[in-house]
């Protein structure tokens, strides 16, 4: 499973890296979630099986992100690696069978990127509005909450049937 999955993930990430500037140029592009973060959260399970694979993907995604952005590779690596660590930590403390806790887990995983991207914007004197970063975090958290159908909803459906 490990080999083929990486063989799919890497080209997809490269294509996504090429398309992201185009997506950002759309009218609402600035508010779209960070694609590398989203893909990393989907690719790496909460309970990380292989540390080596997770580390490899964090460094690869961070490098691809910095190839199309002025944001430093350190910032990208810290944001993406921090996202996995925050997600794992928050997941341990919150139940994952309801949408709201899953939303909170998704939100927690965006915290490192939220602060580091905002800091990069401040350091460059861009003064980007905080709402942009809030909306990006919100979309990541929402998608994380909806990506897997919570067991509680499944149970309700079964009852309804």
């Amino acid at each position: 499973m490990r080999g083929p999955r990486n063989r799919v993930i890497i080209p997809v990430t490269i294509l996504l890296s090429l398309a992201t500037p185009t997506l950002r140029s759309l009218p609402w592009g600035a508010y779209l979630p960070d694609p590398w973060l989203l893909l990393l959260l989907v690719t790496i399970p909460v309970k990380i099986g292989s540390l080596g694979r997770a580390t490899f993907l964090v460094f690869l995604f961070g490098a691809l992100r910095s190839a199309v952005s002025v944001v430093s590779p350190f910032s990208s690596w810290a944001s993406l690696g921090g996202a996995l660590a925050f997600r794992w930590w928050s997941h341990r403390h919150l139940s994952d069978d309801r949408i709201l806790p899953r939303f909170l887990v998704g939100g927690a995983s965006t915290l490192p990127m939220f602060f580091l991207d905002w800091r990069a914007s401040e350091l460059l004197g861009l003064g980007l509005p905080l709402e942009i970063f809030l909306w990006r975090s919100f979309w990541v958290a929402t998608l994380w909450a909806l990506l897997r159908t919570p067991p509680s909803l499944n149970a309700r459906r079964e009852l309804a049937i």
């Binding site: 140029s25 350190f74 991207d117």
Partner: protein
């Protein structure tokens, strides 16, 4: 599947979390050398993906900027505005400023151009101070406001100018001492520079000003004192005029910033959006700014694999780093005090050239399109 022992896995997890912490610290407080190193690691990817991503973005953000009339160069404006009126027996030598400090300026000429210690430096009608240490091609101008500097002054009064001495106090306003007792000075009027006994008398002819006289403290309690609110013309940061007996036959050329062509790569940043873009550099130059149609697009932030990242700045965002020229009143003023219709030029620093045209106040940032030029810092003697 092989499972590592728990202790070994915990050690690896902690090591990785520690590494992430270090990365986060380096992202929050960037270290230029480590930052450049990390960018060099990803430079093969940058070199390949950046132009491709730029090609996908297409021309939607690349409308070439319209050409507007360019003003005269800042050098010429400083020459025209700052040259004092003629005085008998002297010529005014125009000298560019190399570095500026809060209490001194380093000038780009020295004894080979006829400069000598003790000569006075002027911009327009304002006296700036006297030359201190003079080398062959460098001279230090000690501003009269510098701590410990003594300057003879004439204070305004109803019975004619009162002789006095002014002491520089660094960050504090210079204080006036030993005021002639025949009359009371009048506050809020200009203070004139007074020559020393060894100075040629003709230097008093233009009536050089130092600043405005102010009364500080409570006079009812006898705690008042006189200070001078110093005037430092904005143009004096780029050029000063020294009174010399004769002009040198040949002045050393002033180093100018050089330009080289750049090519648009990515019109907007994938994380930070359209305020940041990238350009490709095909030669060995190390540009610090990007210009198009004679106007600055923005400063270059960093290089990586032949790709340079540029911040597109609006004209108003340069405020503190600019000099404003008022084309109606024909005056130069600091960028923070710029008024509508003023034309802004870069103020210059150790890492950014002075005198680049930024645009008219209120103008938006330029797109990274058209014939882009990379501006490189002028090479000084010690760098050549």
């Amino acid at each position: 599947m092989y499972h590592q022992p728990d202790a070994e896995r915990a050690r690896r997890v902690l090591s990785l979390i520690g590494l992430l912490g270090v990365f986060a610290l380096l992202a929050w407080w960037p270290q230029p050398r480590l930052d450049a190193f990390s960018r060099s690691l990803v430079s093969p990817l940058t070199r390949t993906l950046n132009p491709l991503a730029g090609w996908l973005v297409g021309d939607s953000l690349r409308a070439a900027p319209s050409l507007s009339s360019l003003p005269a160069s800042l050098d010429r404006l400083e020459e025209a505005i700052g040259k004092p009126s003629n005085i008998s027996g002297f010529r005014w030598l125009s000298v560019p400023v190399l570095e500026r400090g809060p209490h001194s300026l380093v000038l780009d000429s020295g004894s080979l151009s006829g400069l000598a210690s003790g000569q006075i430096a002027v911009f327009g009608k304002v006296c700036l101070g006297r030359l201190g240490k003079v080398e062959e091609n460098r001279a230090e101008l000690q501003l009269w406001t510098a701590s410990g500097e003594r300057t003879g002054v004439l204070l305004p009064s109803r019975r004619g100018p009162l002789k006095s001495v002014c002491y520089g106090r660094g960050k504090e306003k210079p204080i006036v001492r030993f005021v002639e007792s025949r009359d009371e000075p009048i506050a809020d009027l200009p203070v004139l520079w007074r020559s020393k006994a060894e100075d040629p008398p003709s230097l008093m002819e233009p009536g050089l000003e130092l600043g405005i006289l102010r009364r500080m403290g409570d006079s009812r309690r006898g705690e008042d004192h006189w200070v001078v609110e110093a005037t430092r013309p904005a143009g004096a940061e780029g050029r000063v005029f020294i009174a010399v007996g004769a002009l040198p036959s040949q002045m050393p050329p002033t180093p100018k910033p050089t330009s080289s062509p750049l090519y648009p790569s990515l019109a907007l940043d994938a994380v930070l959006g359209p305020q940041v873009g990238s350009v490709r550099i095909f030669n060995s130059s190390n540009p610090v700014a990007v210009m198009v149609s004679g106007r600055v697009v923005g400063p270059i932030l960093c290089h990586s694999g032949g790709i340079a990242w540029v911040v597109r700045r609006s004209v108003d965002s340069w405020a503190e780093d600019s000099i404003a020229f008022d084309p109606i009143r024909h005056v130069l003023r600091p960028g923070e005090e710029a008024e509508p219709k003023d034309r802004l030029f870069s103020r210059g620093s150790q890492v950014f050239p002075r005198g680049l045209f930024l645009g008219n106040r209120g103008q938006a940032s330029l797109p990274l399109a058209g014939n882009l030029q990379g501006i490189t810092m002028p090479l000084r003697e010690e760098q050549e």
